[in-house]
C-alpha cells in the first residue's frame, strides 16, 4: 500500500514533469477508457487536452493528467490512476477506500496540500474519503476489473482516441448529469493544456490543486479558480493560494452560478499580479464591471471626463432619475393635450415619429386643430411635390380639410425629407398660410 501510494505520488510527479513513463502511460490508457465508460468525464476531458498538448503524454498519461485536473473526483481519479500506475490491480479493487485515504494522506503531508482537507467540507462532504468513496470505489473497481496491464500497450492508441472522443461526450453528459461537475468540466478544460511545470514542486502543486479541484466540483468557481491558478505562473506556493481559496470559498460559492454559465473564461494572470484563483476570479469580475461602466459612460451624456466608479454611478443614477421624471412629465402633458388622436392619426403619427428625426419634431401648422410647424412642408405644394414620390393622392387644398390627409402628406414628407427639402425653399411658408 505504502509503496503503491509512493508510486502514485511519484507517478504524478513524473507525469507532471513530462517524464516519460511508459508503464504508467500504458496503465493510464485503459484506465481512461474505463473512466469514460464510468462517466468520469472529468478524467476523459482532461485526456483530450493533454493529448493535444503533448504527444509525449500519449495515452498513458492522459488519464492521470485528467484525473488530477478533474475537479469532480479527485480521490477517485487519483486512486484509480495511482492504482493503475502501480499495476496493482488487486490492490485497486481491494484497497480503493484505503488507497484513497492514503492517497490523501500523502497529499496532506505535502504542505501544498494543506488546504486540501479543509476544502473538502466546502464540497459538501466533510470527508474527502467519503466523497471519493461513492465515486471512486465503484468506478475504481470497474476500472480495475477491466484493465489489464498487458493490454495497455495495445490499447494505447485506441484508448487515446476513444478517450478524446469520449471525453467530449462524457464531458457533456457529465455536465448534464452532474451539476456538481459542471464547474469541473470547464475547469478541466481550463487546466493547462501544456504541462508547464517542470519542477517537482510544481508537479506537487498541480497534483495538490487537482485533488482540491475534485472535491470542489460542486462549487464550480473554486475549481475554476484552481484552473486559473494553474494556468498562471507556477511560482505561487500552493499553501498561499490554497489558504486564500479556502477563505474565499464560501464567498465565491455564491458566485459560482456565474462560472458554469460562461463557458469558462480563460484567464491568464498578468505579470506582477496575484495569481490566487480567487483573486483571478475577482479580477475577471472587476473587469467585467468596468467594461459595463464604460458602456454606461457612453450612454449617459456628459460623462466622458468622469473617472471613477463612484462618481460615474452617481451620474448614472441622476440620469436615470431624470429620464424617469421626463417620462412622467411628458405623460402628464399628454394627458392634458391631444384629443384628436384617432387611428389614422396614430398611424401617421407613428410614421412621423419613426421616420423623421430631429427636425420633424417641429410640426406643420396645419389647421386649427394642430398648428405645428414642419421644417419642410413641401407637400403643400402640388407643383413641387410632384417630385416627391411619397405624395399622397389626397394632397389637397389642405389645411383645414382633412386632418388625416394632411397628416399623411406631412408624414410622407417626413419620409422624403431629403428630396422635399430641396424643393422646399420658398414654399416653406406656404403651409402655414394654407
Amino acid at each position: 500500500m505504502a509503496t503503491g501510494d509512493n508510486d502514485d505520488v511519484g507517478f504524478k510527479d513524473r507525469h507532471e514533469s513530462l517524464m516519460n513513463c511508459p508503464s504508467s502511460q500504458i496503465n493510464t490508457n485503459p484506465v481512461s477508457d474505463k473512466v469514460n465508460g464510468m462517466a468520469m468525464s472529468s478524467i476523459s476531458m482532461y485526456n483530450k487536452p493533454s493529448n493535444a498538448s503533448d504527444s509525449f503524454f500519449g495515452s498513458g498519461w492522459d488519464p492521470i493528467v485528467s484525473l488530477s485536473q478533474s475537479e469532480s473526483l479527485v480521490g477517485s481519479s487519483m486512486v484509480s490512476h495511482s492504482e493503475f500506475a502501480n499495476s496493482h490491480y488487486p490492490l485497486l479493487m481491494e484497497n480503493q477506500g484505503i488507497s484513497s485515504t492514503s492517497h490523501f494522506s500523502q497529499y496532506q503531508s505535502d504542505p501544498s496540500f494543506v488546504e486540501l482537507v479543509p476544502k473538502l467540507p466546502g464540497f459538501g462532504s466533510g470527508n474527502l474519503s467519503e466523497m471519493v468513496g461513492p465515486f471512486s470505489l465503484p468506478q475504481c473497481g470497474q476500472i480495475a476489473n477491466s484493465k489489464c496491464p498487458q493490454n495497455y500497450a495495445l490499447n494505447t492508441e485506441v484508448g487515446n482516441e476513444r478517450t478524446c472522443t469520449n471525453s467530449t461526450q462524457s464531458r457533456d453528459e457529465h455536465q448534464l448529469s452532474d451539476e456538481g461537475v459542471v464547474g469541473a468540466s470547464p475547469n478541466g478544460k481550463r487546466r493547462k493544456r501544456v504541462p508547464e511545470s517542470n519542477s517537482p514542486l510544481r508537479s506537487y502543486q498541480n497534483a495538490d490543486e487537482e485533488p482540491q479541484k475534485d472535491p470542489s466540483g460542486e462549487s464550480s468557481d473554486v475549481p475554476k479558480e484552481q484552473d486559473e491558478k494553474k494556468q498562471k505562473t507556477e511560482q505561487i506556493t500552493g499553501v498561499n493560494s490554497r489558504g486564500k481559496q479556502v477563505a474565499k470559498q464560501a464567498k465565491d460559492s455564491s458566485q459560482t452560478g456565474e462560472a458554469p454559465k460562461e463557458n469558462y473564461i480563460h484567464v491568464r494572470a498578468r505579470r506582477g499580479q496575484a495569481t490566487n484563483s480567487h483573486s483571478l476570479a475577482e479580477r475577471v469580475r472587476r473587469e467585467k464591471i468596468s467594461e459595463r461602466m464604460r458602456l454606461l459612460q457612453e450612454l449617459v451624456p456628459g460623462c466622458n471626463k468622469i473617472t471613477g466608479k463612484a462618481v460615474m454611478l452617481d451620474e448614472i443614477i441622476n440620469y436615470v432619475q431624470s429620464l424617469q421624471q421626463q417620462v412622467e412629465f411628458l405623460s402628464m402633458k399628454l394627458a392634458t393635450v391631444n384629443p384628436e388622436l384617432n387611428i389614422d392619426l396614430e398611424r401617421v403619427l407613428s410614421k412621423d415619429i419613426l421616420h423623421s428625426r430631429g427636425g420633424s419634431a417641429g410640426i406643420l401648422g396645419f389647421g386649427p386643430g394642430l398648428n405645428s410647424s414642419h421644417p419642410f412642408p413641401p407637400g403643400i405644394f402640388p407643383g413641387t411635390i410632384s417630385g416627391v414620390p411619397s405624395t399622397n393622392p389626397q394632397f389637397p387644398p389642405l389645411p383645414q380639410t382633412v386632418l388625416d390627409n394632411e397628416l399623411q402628406s406631412l408624414l410622407q414628407m417626413g419620409f422624403d425629407s431629403n428630396s422635399a427639402m430641396d424643393s422646399l425653399g420658398p414654399n416653406g411658408r406656404l403651409k402655414s398660410e394654407l
Partner: protein, 166 residues
Amino acid sequence: MSPHHPNPSSLKSRFTTRFLRALTKINAQNPISSSSPREILQRFRRIKVAADKSMAYSVRSRRTWSRAMRWKLRSRSWRQASSVRRLKITTSCHQAIMKKTAHERENKTTTGEGVGFGVQTDELRELVPGGEAMDLCNLLDETAHYIKCLTTQVQVMRKIVDFYSP
C-alpha cells in the same frame, strides 16, 4: 438630414405603435373635453401606466427589468381589479418573489461587490425595476438597456406631445 428608414421592428417602432394604440384607447375612453383636474390626473396616471407598459412589452422579454416591470404592472392591475382572489394570488406570488429577491440580495451582499460602492448600487437598484435581485454586473447591464429604452420612450413621447401642441 438623411432620411433613415429605421428597422421596422426596432424598439422604437414597437414602442411607438404600442403606445399610440394605448393612447387612442385612453382618449377614446375619456373625452378630453371634460378636463377636470381629477380626470386629468386619472388620465395622466393611465397614460403613464400605458407608457410603462408598452415599453415593457416592446422589449423582448429577455431583459430582467422588463420582466420585473411587467410583473409589477400586472400585479398592480390585478390589485386594482379588486378581485379578492386575485389579490391573494398576487400577494402570495409577490411574497414568494420578494423572498427570493431578498435571498438573492443577501447572496449578493455576502459575496460582496468587491468594489466598494454600496450606497449608489442600492440606489440604482431601486431605480431600475427588478434591480434588487441582480448582482452588480448584471445590474449595470440592465441599467444600460433600461437607459436606452427610457431615452427611446422620452423621444417618442416628446414627439407626440410636440405633434399635438405648438
